[in-house]
Each structure stands twice: as C-alpha cells, then as structure tokens.
Amino acid sequence: MLVTVSTESATPPYEQIRVQVRDAVASGALAPGAKLPPVRRLAEDLGLAVNTVARAYRELEADGVVETRGRNGTVVSPHGDATERAAQQAATAYVETVRRLGVADDHARALIDAALRT
C-alpha cells in the first residue's frame, strides 16, 4: 500500500496521510495487525517533518484505527476500522429501534435513504 502526499493540495499533509491510511484499513488494503512504518522513516520518505507524520499517527490512534505499542511501533488496530465499527453499532441500534416500533423493513430503509439525501 502506498501513501501519496500532494505538495499542491490545500489539505494539510498530515490529513492526507490520515485519510489514506484510514481508507486503506476500511478497504482491507491494510489488514488488522499490519505494522506501519516508523514515524521517522515515513517522514524521511515523504520529505516531511517528523511532527507532521506523528500528528497523523496520533489522530489515527485517537480514531481507534491504529494502536501504538511503544518500541514495537504502530500497528493497525486488530479490531478493524473504528469508524466501521461505530457505524455498525449505530446501524444495529437503529434496527432494534425500528423493530421495537413495529416499522416495516422497507419503510425503515426508505427513512435512511431520506436522511442520507438531506
């Protein structure tokens, strides 16, 4: 998996890194447990300051996408993408709610579609 940082983009470099790693975890390109390169090496390869890459890793860790294990480096969270997990929990809660209310499945889906369109 490659990460690309555009020098002409308005998006800060750390955000570009964060989004690409998050998307790679979500798509399965980065498997749970996969080890990310050390901050210093990734910063050197990308020509960025160490703090920039460190910030990307911190934000990924705050989102639960990766875990820092001290001297063992940073790895993709073994529990998968936290964003995906949170979305799955919200979907499960919604399904439990609409079924308790007696709402038909087709109507429940239509309500979601309407909410997504807003």
Binding site: M1, L2, V3, T4, V5, S6, T7, E8, V21, A24, L30, A34, L36, P37, R41, L42, E44, D45, L46, G47, L48
Partner: protein
C-alpha cells in the same frame, strides 16, 4: 641448472631441450601477473573517471532503463544519473579492496605461493565480487537524492525478496546453496574414510571448499534480511517513478548477490564432487577417471542449462512486471 641439454631418443634423433631456470620462469609469471594487474587497474581507473562524463551517465541510465524495462521521467533523470554514477564509483573502489584481499590471500610474490587448491578460483571471485557489491551499495546509499515532484510517494507495507527477485533466480541460488553446503561436507567425510587416497594437492581443497560452501549458504539465508534493509533505505525519494526505480536498483543488488551465490556455491560444490572421485583407492583409477570426467562435463552442461533456463524468463524485468506494470517501456 643449465640450458641446452641434448637428448637422443630411440630412433637416434637428437633433440635439444631448453631448460628454463625456475627463477626465470616464476619471474616471468610475476611480470605477466603485474602487467595484467596494471591493465585491470587502468581499466578501473578509466571506468571511475568516466562516471563524471555526461555521455557516460546518460548511457548508464539508458542501459538500466532498457534492462529493467522502466521509463525514466525527465525530472528523475538527474537524480538517477547521480545514483548510478555513485554506484559505479563505489563498485570500482570496493572491487579494488576485494582484489587487494585476493592478492593478500594468494600472495603470488611468495615462492611457493600458498595454495588453496580448487577453492582458489571461486574464493578469489567471491572476494572481488563481494567487494564490488558492497562498494556499489555504499555508493548508492551516499547518493540518495530527492527529485522535485508535485506528489511524494512512500510505501506503507513492506515488500519482500519475492517481490524483488524472480522465482527462477531465487530457486537457482537455493539449489546452489544446498549443493555448496552438502557436497564439500560429503568430501570431508569421504576423505576421512580409511580407504580414501586423494592426492594431497586436491585433498587440501576440502577445507577451503567447505568454508566457501558454508559462506554461500549463510549468505543465502541472510538474503531476506538484506532485501528488507535495502528496500527500506530508498535510493530515490519522490513520486511513484522514483519509488519504482528505487525498487529496481535494490532488486539489481539482490540479483547480483543471487548470482554470486550461484557461481561461488555452485563451483565449490561441483569442485568437491570432482575431488570425491580422486579419493578412491589406487586400484580404482579407471573409476576415478570416469567419475572426474563425467562430473566435469555434467557440471558444465548443468551450468549452461541453468543459465539458459533462468535468463530466458527475463528476470531483470521482474520488478517492473510485478510491482510497476504501469511504468513499462515495452508493455508485456
């Protein structure tokens, strides 16, 4: 010793045999060796100096590009030229160190010179080649450059030896490493048997061949770690094309190490196989001769077949085929 000894054969014919004094013969050998050494040094010096010439640098890049089947974007060319030139310079200097160590090993100025028997050739080649390779790798490390680009690319997941070196070359080195370890060990066992009767000059080869074999085997086992280290230390920083070329240069170094293992290990192993045939008792001289001849011819044929089978698969394009198909000069 005097010159001009007359010999009269059974037919009554008189023949003059010129006897060359030993001192003259070996002095002549040393002079020839020195002349050869000067020629080699001159060639190396010229190669070193030419790396500063623009035309030479351009040819270097073009040759590598065609071999690896990778395009060279114009913005990458200066950094790539510098990288390749530094590798050549490092290789020349490393080769000089290797040749010096070979001279220290064989010491041709001594009489009689120390003998390592059949191990002399592969050991000398191994030392010289290792010096060249280490020098090229160090030269490349000193030449790391960033190329100007709108986007910078880095690899997050590591690549392995299998991504960089073609399966045919990896198998070739694996077989050679096994042969290199097994056959010299078998030779040592055979020579230790009570009935073994190898000529002393060949029996002396056993220990050096075993050492060479073990060295080839050990180098083979460390190849994955070497690949990891070289791949992580990128030669060229920049966009995807720079990463592709970094991979190609890493792959070239690894491929050279595979071929070195194949040559040194293969020659050590097959030489041991031939010497085994000389260890038979005197009354089996015919069997010994047959063994030596068959093993020599079989080794030569095996070498040719191996080289053909490996090269026909264009292993030098493995990185482009597996990692960077989008950068092919000639799409496959």
């Amino acid at each position: 010793m005097t010159a001009g000894t007359h010999i009269i054969d059974r037919g009554g014919t008189s023949t003059t045999v010129v006897e060359i004094p030993s001192e003259v013969f070996f002095t002549g050998m040393l002079v020839a060796l020195a002349a050869g050494g000067v020629a080699v040094l001159t060639f190396l010096a010229l190669t070193f100096v030419r790396t500063w010439r623009p035309a030479t640098r351009e040819r270097l890049v073009n040759r590598h590009a065609l071999r690896a089947n990778l395009v060279v974007p114009e913005e990458l060319r200066p950094a790539l030229e510098h990288q390749l030139a530094m590798r050549v310079r490092g290789g020349v200097l490393g080769g000089l160190v290797g040749l010096t160590s070979v001279l220290m090993l064989v010491r041709p100025w001594e009489f009689p010179p120390p003998s390592l028997g059949l191990a002399t050739g592969p050991l000398s080649f191994g030392l010289a080649f290792l010096g060249t390779q280490v020098g090229a790798i160090v030269g490349g490390m000193l030449a790391r450059r960033s190329m100007p680009s709108r986007a910078v690319v880095a690899r997050v997941t590591p690549i392995s030896l299998a991504d960089l070196v073609a399966p045919a070359e990896r198998r070739m080195a694996a077989v050679a490493a096994c042969v290199a370890v097994a056959l010299p060990a078998l030779l040592l066992v055979v020579l230790s048997l009570p009935l073994a009767d190898a000529p002393e000059s060949l029996a002396l080869s056993a220990a050096p061949l075993a050492f060479l074999g073990l060295a080839a085997g050990a180098l083979y086992l460390t190849l994955p770690a070497i690949a990891d280290r070289l791949a992580r230390r990128r030669a060229l920083l920049g966009d995807a094309a720079a990463l592709a070329w970094s991979d190609a240069l890493t792959a070239q170094s690894l491929r050279d190490l595979h071929w070195a293992i194949a040559y040194v290990g293969g020659v050590a192993g097959l030489s041991a196989l031939m010497v085994i045939g000389t260890a038979v008792p005197d009354d089996s001289a015919v069997a010994s001769t047959i063994w030596i001849n068959v093993s020599a011819y079989a080794s030569f044929v095996l070498l040719l077949v191996t080289v053909a089978l490996v090269l026909v698969r264009s292993p030098e394009r493995h990185v482009q085929r597996t990692l960077w198909p989008e950068f092919a000069i000639h799409p496959q």
